[in-house]
Symmetry: C2
Subunit: 204 residues, 2 copies
DNA sequence: ATATTTGTTAACCAAATGGTTTAACCATGA
DNA sequence: TCATGGTTAAACCATTTGGTTAACAAATAT
């Protein structure tokens, strides 16, 4: 247990992450971030000049945390199913420890304008090169190792099965009578289900 | 082509739907809704007393449009795969004509407090009774007609594959070089992919 | 020690935003 | 025709909100 006192800047980042990621840009309030960080509101503007600037720091950091992990896996030399399993595992691990991140990302990516996306693309060293994965899938199909599928559909399906459960939790816990711990269990066993599902669905 | 002049109330609903569903509660502005409806801001408050009230009307209507369609299917007497295909088709059709709805629903369900969800539950005549579907899946497994799967996982997977593509579009059109029309094509061929995927994944 | 930069706060400000008031407008029935 | 009720808009109001100022404290350099 580390007990180091966080610097003001660290406290701001931590607080801003929490507030922005859980409430989104439009729903976040500078005052709330200041309170969460235990500082004066003016400090936020001293360190990061505006809400927009602070938001970009947080958002870009979140994106940059995830994107490379996948990008790196995509180009690795692994059998297709192992690679898909690794992608699934990476997403699950990342989002289990940050369950609000998926909705935040999807949200801000749709909400923020092109300038934001351009800035993101400029700052992320390298985006995942999915063509790599698509080629691999294509080859497996041609070699008759897996059932014919459109590579993009397979990627989309893999990502869907993995990420969607994090964003649709309130549908089940709020509307249907699923408890949070029941839902956690489901997410806990999600990897096995997905991998088995992919394995069987791709069998020739 | 109907050319009836819409009543003020209808114009408000139409405008509010558009703004709320695309920007969410926090991002929507009463002034913008008024502009969109071509009326004075005071009119909004004349017809619906507050932003909150107006929002609830819109949000509850959206929810109530989708929920029963599924609920009704769930309890229908159909072979499992046909039923899943019907669910997939219902979601796809609904969201193709309202692509922002999924993210809106997921968002507001996580953002709005319990009172909102309670009000929703109170107003929706009957929520889908998934136990019905679960039992059917369980039976198919026990009868050896499909590979053993946890019913909830299968439901989650089906919904994921179907709905997630609507919310992750900007990931591909914004970050990866997929064009909107390419993405539309993918969504257009989504049903066949999902049904084939489910079929093969469930084979014993 | 002293000047200077850096960090911090309270008070303040202007714009945005949800909401209200007031009065005019307009159809309908008495 | 003139009440009467719902409908509409302009101006207004109060609060919230992002952002600034100015004074002060705490380091840091000279």
């Amino acid at each position: 247990m580390k007990l180091t006192t966080l610097s003001t800047e660290e406290r701001i980042i931590k607080a801003a992450s929490k507030i922005f990621i859980s409430k989104g840009y439009a729903g976040a309030r500078m005052q709330e971030i200041a309170d969460e960080a235990g500082i004066n509101k003016a400090m936020l503007h001293y360190y990061y000049r505006s809400k927009d600037k602070l938001f970009r720091v947080i958002a870009l950091a979140s994106f940059k945390e995830i994107i490379p992990r996948i990008g790196h896996l995509i180009e690795k030399d692994l059998p297709l199913l192992e690679k898909l399993a690794a992608i699934v595992d990476t997403y699950l691990t990342t989002f289990k420890s940050n369950p609000n991140l998926p909705l935040f990302i999807l949200n801000e990516l749709t909400q923020q304008g092109d300038e934001f996306i351009d800035e993101l693309k400029a700052q992320v060293a390298e985006l995942p090169r999915f063509e790599y994965l698509f080629a691999q899938i294509q080859k497996e199909v041609e070699d008759g190792n897996i059932r014919p599928v459109l590579p993009f559909h397979l990627l989309l399906t893999t990502m869907s099965m993995t990420i969607f459960p994090f964003v649709c939790r309130p549908v089940f816990t709020g509307l249907i009578g699923v408890t949070n711990s029941q839902y956690d269990e489901i997410i806990g066993s999600r990897k096995e289900h997905i991998v088995a599902f992919l394995t069987h669905a791709l069998k020739t």
